[in-house]
């Protein structure tokens, strides 16, 4: 960086001509441009930034991105402005083959730069930490023992109109998602329904390889690892549809591993979940499923018992059917 004190004096060779105050010029231009850019970002861009504000975590992420842009825009403008100014004002004139003036260090400029950038970085570090802790992990998977937990009443059942935390298990399998609701008898569905204004705990796991549960508009993303319960939180704030995608390359159909979820009213959700539970209980599907657990060992079929599985060897997952002595690299 430079300042008026270290400004080259090209053009000052004209006798009697006064060197303009480049530093103040640059500062004034920067101030106007930076202020304009930040105002545009805040008022025009911010409401349209991804991932939107469909949930508490999405809203925080949108705010975080806006703050990052507002913090970064003045720095970018300062750099670009200085480059542009230098190219225009201090360019070599035709026929001027003389050396440029020597450049000296300037303690004030150096200190301003170091202090300014340090302050921005420290602010962003503190801001990022607050924004990670405050919204309980900001929608990211926190592993099986989350440090930052979303407030909500833990209950074995879920009742509309209360602050009961809704538990939803997300199960990834090549190449589709399914969802279990332990507070509704452990019923399972290919549809992800969530009630509005309800704290939700996602328990994300996988039955085969590593997937990643990414509910884009909800601002929730958590890896789905086999034998791991990866916990993420959010609170849906708007009715509507959101997209669920796999965000971890998981095989040939990874790109097609997506479906849609819906945020509905609390009463509609209760009716839907109770209805699916009753239907699956009546048609025997609930009895087909293993008891709800945070993770599943695909080699264990509770209805048969592990001993029988080992003897008969009838499950694919870690190699009883396809023995571990016989894997080959695809």
């Amino acid at each position: 960086m430079s300042s008026a004190a270290e400004t080259p004096t090209a053009g000052a060779d004209a006798p009697g001509r006064r060197e303009p105050a480049h530093g103040w010029r640059l500062f004034a231009a920067w101030l106007v441009l930076a202020l304009a850019a930040d105002l545009l970002i805040w008022f025009l861009l911010y409401p349209h930034l991804p991932p939107g504000d469909m949930s508490s975590s999405a809203k925080h992420q949108q705010f975080d991105i806006a703050v990052l842009m507002i913090s970064g825009a003045p720095v970018i403008i300062a750099v670009w402005l200085y480059f542009g100014y230098a190219i225009v004002v201090w360019r070599a004139r035709p026929g001027d083959d003389s050396d440029g003036p020597p450049i000296y260090g300037h303690t004030g400029v150096q200190a301003t730069w170091i202090i300014g950038t340090s302050a921005i970085v420290l602010f962003l570090a503190v801001f990022g930490t607050v924004e990670l802790v405050g919204p309980a992990g900001a929608g990211a998977g926190e592993g099986p023992s989350p440090i930052w937990k979303l407030a909500g009443h833990q209950s074995a059942t879920w009742t509309p109109g209360t602050n009961d935390m809704l538990q939803v298990q997300v199960i990834g399998q090549q190449w589709t998602w399914s969802y279990r609701y332990p507070q509704f008898g452990g019923m399972e569905s290919t549809q992800l329904y969530l009630p509005i204004d309800t704290p939700v705990t996602f328990h994300v796991t996988s039955l085969d390889v590593i997937h990643s549960f990414w509910a884009y508009q909800l601002g929730v993303k958590a890896d789905a690892n086999p034998a791991v319960d990866n916990v993420a939180y959010t609170t849906p704030k708007q009715l509507g549809t959101f997209v669920v995608r796999c965000n971890e390359l998981c095989g040939i159909w990874h790109g097609a591993m997506f479906n849609n979820g819906q945020v509905v009213s609390q009463s509609a959700f209760a009716a839907w979940a109770s209805g699916v539970q009753a239907q699956e209980k009546a048609n025997g599907v609930l009895a087909l499923l293993p008891p709800f657990a945070l993770t599943y060992d695909p080699t264990v079929i509770p209805q048969l018992g592990k001993a029988l599985v080992n003897i008969v060897g009838i499950t694919g997952a870690p190699g009883y059917y396809y023995g571990p002595a016989n894997p080959v690299t695809p």
């Binding site: 399998q173 390889v209 095989g251 040939i252 293993p290 499950t315 694919g316 997952a317 396809y322 690299t329």
Partner: protein
């Protein structure tokens, strides 16, 4: 070297690199998808009949021990080693699957449930290796792959919410009695199941992915490789075209 010469050399080198990239992409990616034949099913009376079979082996020279689906050409009645087929939009699709392969339980028994088909049921009839019916065709709303050795593979189109477990041949009758030469036929000496179901094709034209949800890549780690990861074996596309 003059500037024009240098520019020409650079341009030629750039074009060579781009051309090489295009060739590699076309040769490997393009050929991988164009080798498979698409079977076209046309509607009659507002319905279309799709015929599939799943076998414990196949007739390829390179990977003869991979499990696979075959699709029947409605014109020649020949079984074609492909998993690409097309159906008209907004049409009732009647699917018949011959299940010649043995059983493998599902990782998630939820997929034992029949979903997304008309009536949410399939009909299953078992046949012995002598092609003798072992009983009448039975309607099933789920085929429990965990209570016994009942499910061979699945036919799933996740985008349509269609999940169908495909029955394996009767466990007792199929021991050492699976079809040994593909494509199998009812008289080729293997026990088999005959499963039928119907669903409505979507009104939206396009390619809909379908797949098996049983980890049936035998010989591969956790059953996930080989035929599970290769188009034309245990996964394919249903092209929905204008009716």
């Amino acid at each position: 070297m003059s500037v024009p010469v240098r520019a020409a050399v650079l341009t030629v080198a750039f074009l060579l690199v781009v051309g090489l990239g295009v060739f590699v992409g076309y040769y490997y990616i393009g050929s991988a998808t164009t080798q498979l034949q698409t079977i076209h099913y046309t509607a009659s009376g507002g319905q279309v009949n799709v015929m599939l079979q799943e076998d414990p082996q196949n007739d390829s020279a390179t990977t003869p021990d991979w499990v696979t689906y075959y699709t029947q050409d409605p014109t020649t009645k020949q079984w074609v080693h492909t998993t690409l087929f097309s159906v008209p939009a907004n049409t009732k699709v009647n699917v018949t699957i011959y299940g010649y392969d043995g059983c493998t339980p599902l990782r998630n028994n939820y997929w034992s449930q029949v979903q997304g088909v008309i009536g949410n049921t399939v009909t299953v009839q078992q046949f012995s290796k002598n092609n003798t019916p072992l009983g009448p065709a039975q309607p099933e709303s789920f085929i429990n792959s965990w209570s016994a050795c009942n499910v061979g593979h699945t036919f799933a189109i996740p985008e349509l919410g269609l999940y169908v477990p495909v029955a394996s041949p009767n466990a007792n009758d199929s021991v050492n009695n699976l079809c040994g030469s593909s494509p199998c036929t009812p008289t080729s000496g293997g026990a088999y199941s005959l499963e039928t179901f119907s669903f409505m094709s979507p009104s939206q034209t396009g390619s809909y992915r379908w797949q098996c949800l049983v980890p049936c890549g035998g010989g591969f780690l956790n059953g996930n490789g080989g035929p599970m990861q290769t188009l034309g074996w245990m996964a394919g596309f249903m092209d929905v075209v204008s009716s």
